[in-house]
C-alpha cells in the first residue's frame, strides 16, 4: 500500500501536477501575506474577496448583472458569427465581391480599434445594452471572417466534386458536405470569439453600458471598492477558464480526432 502511494506520488511529481498545485498554493499564500502589508483598498486579502464574492452571488440584483453580461456576450458572438460567416461566404462564392471583402473590408475592420467602435456607438446610440452589443459584435466580425474564409479556402475540392456528382442540388451539397467540412473552422472561430468577447465586453459595459458587471466595475472603481473589483474579476476568470476546460477543450479534442488526417 505504501509503495503504491509513493509510486503514485512520484508519478504525479514528475508530470508536474504537484508543482502546479504547489504554485497555486504559493500564489494564494503570497497574496494573503502581501495583503497584510498594503492597505485593503490596494490589495484586499483572499478572505475579504471570497466574502464579497459570496455576498455578490446571494444578492439577486448583482447576480442579474452577471447574467446580463453573459447575454451581451452571447448575442454579440451570435451576431458576429452570422454576419462574419455571411461575408466570408459572399467573398468565396461571389467572385466580383472578393476583392471588396478580402482586400478592403476585412483589413479595415481588422485594424479598427475596439475603443473606437465603442466610442462611436456611444455617440450614436447612447449608453445602453445595444451600444455594448454593437461594439463587441464589430470587434468579433473580422476574426470570424478570417476563420471561416480560411476554412472555405482549405475545403477539399475533390470532396466537393464528389458531392456534385452525387447531387445536383447546390443546397444539398452545401448542407451535407460544405458545412460538415467547415465545422472545425466554425468551432475555432466561436472559441476565438468567446475569448476575445470577454476581454472587450467589460470595457464596453464600463464606458457605454447601463448594466452588466462592467457597469458595476465602474461604480466600484469610483468608490475604491477594490474587493468588488477583485470579486468580479474572479467571476470572469473562473467562468472563462472553466468554459475553456469543460466545454471547448473536450470538443476540440473530439474534432481533432474525427477530422485529423492520417
Amino acid at each position: 500500500m505504501r509503495a503504491f502511494i509513493i509510486q503514485h506520488l512520484s508519478r504525479a511529481w514528475s508530470s508536474g501536477t504537484v508543482l502546479a498545485h504547489l504554485f497555486t498554493v504559493a500564489f494564494l499564500l503570497a497574496w494573503w501575506g502581501y495583503s497584510f502589508i498594503v492597505p485593503a483598498y490596494q490589495l484586499p486579502g483572499p478572505g475579504l474577496v471570497a466574502t464579497r464574492a459570496i455576498a455578490f452571488l446571494q444578492d439577486s440584483d448583482e447576480f442579474a448583472q452577471l447574467l446580463l453580461s453573459l447575454a451581451h456576450v452571447s448575442i454579440a458572438i451570435a451576431a458576429a458569427f452570422v454576419i462574419g460567416s455571411l461575408l466570408a461566404a459572399l467573398a468565396h462564392y461571389v467572385r466580383p465581391l472578393r476583392l471588396l471583402i478580402d482586400g478592403r473590408l476585412t483589413p479595415f475592420l481588422n485594424a479598427f480599434s475596439a475603443i473606437g467602435w465603442l466610442f462611436l456607438a456611444m455617440l450614436w446610440f447612447g449608453l445602453d445594452s445595444f451600444t455594448v452589443i454593437f461594439a463587441v459584435t464589430l470587434i468579433l466580425i473580422p476574426f470570424t471572417i478570417i476563420n471561416v474564409r480560411t476554412g472555405l479556402q482549405e475545403l477539399d475540392a475533390d470532396l466537393i466534386e464528389l458531392g456534385r456528382s452525387l447531387s445536383r442540388n447546390p443546397l444539398q451539397v452545401g448542407v451535407r458536405i460544405v458545412v460538415p467540412l467547415l465545422v472545425p473552422y466554425l468551432f475555432a472561430s466561436l472559441r476565438n470569439s468567446f475569448g476575445v468577447s470577454w476581454k472587450v465586453v467589460l470595457t464596453a459595459e464600463l464606458f457605454g453600458g447601463s448594466g452588466g458587471v462592467g457597469f458595476l466595475l465602474n461604480i466600484a472603481r469610483q468608490q475604491f471598492d477594490t474587493e468588488t473589483i477583485f470579486a468580479i474579476i474572479g467571476f470572469i476568470l473562473c467562468f472563462v477558464a472553466f468554459s475553456e476546460i469543460i466545454l471547448f477543450r473536450p470538443i476540440q479534442r473530439h474534432l481533432d480526432r474525427s477530422y485529423g488526417r492520417v
Binding site: 490596494q42 478592403r104 475603443i115 476581454k199 470572469i236
Partner: protein, 259 residues
C-alpha cells in the same frame, strides 16, 4: 486557391473601390442631415485628421501611443521567451505554466488590468506599459512555447557538439529556429495591443491616442473620435504592411520547404 495568382481583374477593382467611393458619398449625404456631434461628414473628419499633421501636440499623442505599443510588445515577447526557456530547461514546469499561468493570464479581463494598474501604480507611462504587457503576455507565451516545442532535438545536439557556450547556442541556433513562431506572436500581440490594450490609455495616461479619444468623447467632438479611429487604422495597417508582414514572410514556418 487556383485564381489568386496575378493582379485582380479590372472589374474587381472597380467594384471594390467603387463601393468604397459610394459608401463615402452615402456617408456624406447622411451626415448633411445630421448634426456634427452625431455623425460628422467626411470633410469634418478630414479637418480633424489634418490636425495630426499640422498640430505638433496632436501628432505627439499618436507618436506616444506607437512607442508604448512597441515597447509593451517587446517586453511581453522577451518575458514570453524567458518563460518558454525556463520550461525548456525544466520540463516539470510545463504543467504550471500551461495549466496555471496561461489559463490565469488569458482569462483575465483586460479592463481588470487597467483598473488594477491605476489602483496600484499612479497614472503614468510605466502603468500603461504594465497594463498592455499584462494583456498581451499570454499570446506571447503561447507562441514562444509552440516555437520551443517544435525544436529539432538533433539540431540542438549538433549545436552542443559545436560549442559549449549555451548563450552562443541560444543566439546562433535556437533563436533562428523559433523565429517564425516569435514573429507570428509579435504580429498577433501587436494587433491586440492596438485594438484592445489601448484601453490602458483611457485610464492610466494623460497622453496618447486613448487619452485623445477620451477627451474627444467627453467634449462630444465626434469628428475627432472618427479621426483617432482612422489614425489607429492607418498606423496599424502601415506598420503591419511595411514591417511585420515582410518579417513574417522572411521567417515563414515553411521556409526551405516546397510549398
Amino acid at each position: 486557391m487556383s485564381d489568386t495568382a496575378g493582379k485582380p481583374a479590372l472589374l474587381d477593382r472597380l467594384i471594390a473601390d467603387g463601393t468604397i467611393v459610394a459608401l463615402i458619398v452615402v456617408w456624406w449625404l447622411i451626415a448633411r442631415q445630421l448634426p456634427t456631434y452625431v455623425l460628422p461628414g467626411p470633410y469634418d473628419v478630414l479637418q480633424s485628421l489634418a490636425r495630426f499633421v499640422t498640430d505638433g501636440a496632436t501628432a505627439f499623442n499618436a507618436f506616444v501611443s506607437l512607442t508604448r505599443v512597441v515597447a509593451s510588445v517587446l517586453i511581453a515577447m522577451v518575458m514570453g521567451v524567458l518563460i518558454a526557456l525556463a520550461v525548456q530547461a525544466a520540463p516539470i514546469l510545463n504543467a504550471t505554466v500551461e495549466r496555471r499561468l496561461l489559463v490565469f493570464l488569458s482569462s483575465f479581463p483586460s479592463v481588470g488590468w487597467a483598473i488594477l494598474g491605476v489602483v496600484w501604480f499612479k497614472i503614468s507611462t510605466p502603468t500603461v506599459l504594465f497594463i498592455q504587457t499584462a494583456i498581451i503576455l499570454p499570446f506571447c507565451i503561447v507562441n514562444a512555447l509552440a516555437g520551443f516545442r517544435q525544436l529539432d532535438q538533433e539540431l540542438d545536439e549538433m549545436g552542443r557538439s559545436m560549442t559549449r557556450s549555451p548563450v552562443r547556442r541560444f543566439f546562433k541556433l535556437t533563436l533562428p529556429l523559433i523565429a517564425p513562431f516569435l514573429v507570428a506572436g509579435l504580429r498577433i500581440a501587436y494587433g491586440i495591443c492596438w485594438k484592445i490594450a489601448l484601453v490602458s490609455e483611457l485610464f492610466g495616461a494623460s497622453s496618447g491616442l486613448g487619452y485623445l479619444l477620451m477627451n474627444a468623447q467627453s467634449t462630444s467632438d465626434a469628428a475627432m473620435v472618427f479621426a483617432c479611429c482612422l489614425v489607429i487604422v492607418v498606423i496599424y495597417t502601415a506598420t503591419d504592411y511595411l514591417l511585420l508582414k515582410p518579417l513574417a514572410e522572411r521567417f515563414s514556418v515553411n521556409q526551405g520547404l516546397q510549398t
